[in-house]
Amino acid sequence: MSLGGRTLGVIAALALAAGGAHAQISDGVIKVGVMNDQSGTYADLAGPGSVVATRMAVEDFGAAKKGLKVEILVADHQNKPEVGSSIARQWYDVDKVDLILDVPTSSVVLAVNQVTREKNKALIVSTGATVDLTGKACSPNAIHWTYDTWSLANGTGTAVVKSGGNTWFFLTADYAFGHSLEQQTEAVVLKLGGKVLGKVRHPFPSADMSSFLLQAQTSKAKIIGLANAGADTINAIKQGAEFGIVKGGQQFAGLLVFLTDVHSLGLDKAQGLFLTEAFYWDLNPQTRAWSQRFAKLHKGAMPTMAQAGVYSAMLHYLKAVEAAKTDDGPKVIAKMKEMPSEDPVFGKGQVRQDGRHIHDMYLFEVKKPSESKGPWDYYKVRATIPADQAFRPEKEGGCPLVK
């Protein structure tokens, strides 16, 4: 519980504004606040790595050469909505922040979105998953960059049912994020003719999953869908191995699994897991080159899709500021929607009217230990989901901005 916000600024790039070229930049400096979980559950998959990614974007954009002054602030919202909204208020009111970036945890995303709209600034979400940000809570001040619950449910659900996994049992974290992930996946499964044999909602967080796993086992469903995240998912898979779930012929489908989770589990336990992500470091030469640069700056850890998304989003934001010649929140956001995006990480993409950034998503399968050539060599691509099918259609979201 803390008000936050009075943070130590990290000056990423310093340059004097040349002449009057950037007269519309407030205080002559673009202030970006990276708000995420610096020490809790989501610290590894976003956390300090997202700050590294933001700094890389500022460098690669060449802000200094273009005479743009960019300053990066960092704060830890501890995954608590009231901490997040306090920090956001103080950032906008006192520190004159122009953009808030990253923001894991759906509840905090919605709270910060509220404040951003009230103060008429800009918000770009990469790690947060709530599909409401581009649905009923959509705003002219916000963009959702990397993924959302719908795209995960759609990617993993479709692929698994099509490959024969037509009976499901859900292990759902008992809170809004878990429920929405479960409902969206269930819809996909039913649409494709699959069946849901049962579901169990476990308290969040749960250290012990054995009781729920046992219920999944007795259900005899082919697929156990994990509608949870972080430590809960890791525990479920780990304890699943102990109870012989996979040996007994059932399979896990992780609905939100990050590279760092697989790293923590080890291939031995995670092998064969299907998962949907927007990015993997070993996709093509560009992603490899970028990721290796990232790893050098971040204790050797490869980037997750959340961190890659922060880079991609920040780069596009700076391009839009340059094109719009202002850092005024809604104007930059509008510009970002107008311009197509392109970068070495996500390739080509585009921001829709509802604030959804669309790009290809990928279905991965976790490699067997024997297939892996070394650390971080974890995924093989099973399918590419084209951008126009990877996200919820604009009309279905109920976003008032879509006419």
């Binding site: 519980m1 916000g5 943070t7 130590l8 009231e82 909204s85 306090s86 809170y175």
Partner: protein, 343 residues
Amino acid sequence: MATTVSAMAGSLPRAQSSLHQRVAFLVMVAFFAIGPLVIYPLFLMKVMCFALFACAFNLLLGYVGLLSFGHAMFLGTAGYVAAHTAKAGLTVGGFKFLGASVPVLLQLPPFNPEFAVLFGAAAACLLGIVSGLIAIRRQGIYFAMITLALAQMVYFFCVQAPFTGGEDGIQAVPRGKLFGTIDLSDVTAMYVTVFVIFISGFLLIYRIIHSPFGQVLKAIRENEARAVSLGYDVDRYKLLAYVLSATLSGVAGATNALVFQLAALNGVYWTMSGEVVLMTLLGGLGTVFGPAAGALVLLSIENYLALLGSWVTIAQGCIFVACVLTFRRGIVGELGRALKKSL
């Protein structure tokens, strides 16, 4: 402003308040009156809410000697109730229970802020009566454990109950118009409102402490057996103090929810209960001004360390250990000792 300040100082009961207490009160009022010119007002509003919370808590720990480790349940519940009534009004009935659907018995439109706060406080009061009846029968560590466990039940209830919005909390709570006329979305109006609530709450607690009722509470703290032998119904006194403390905590929680336009799970979690203990301990147990000072100092530290996430917990832990081992009188307690005055 100066006239109001001196008028408020005058409202301290003359007979019981000594000069130095009035001076300290003036300093505090002046700090919160001039503060927003230099310090971020939202932060000061938060300090006032938590200062009131800590003062209410101190009423129980400092003057009755009961350590509640579950006071967050009052802060949080009142916050939820105030936020809900301010945002959606109140609906009684209209749900399904055991298959039978209960008709809508009562439906009220969104509450004005003053009613939202009152309603929140009433909810905390009710919770105080229920939990008090269970907890008050034990003392010391037992009391601490029982309140902790009761608060944990409330926490799980809030996680599950549909109206609390689970881990999203209740967001975008409108601050509304005070008495239907004063728009609280204006920072100054909101600040003055919080200021008035805090000062009134503070004075009320001051009155309680110095009333005959307060004297009986102190007698219970010093020697419960003697109080019983003098014919006092100790349990009733304790329960009343507990409920008063709960209600005032509720006022603090409800106000806080309006200020931040948000009520979330953090408010009912047990770490919040620990935090208020820490504020009171740091400021000075059983002192009049200690809890407020403790709230200010602790929140400033947290604010400064916010970037560093887990360093906040480490700092809190260190303060706890230091207070318990070497600094048991707290800031104001030590100050009072140095000045040889009770503050």
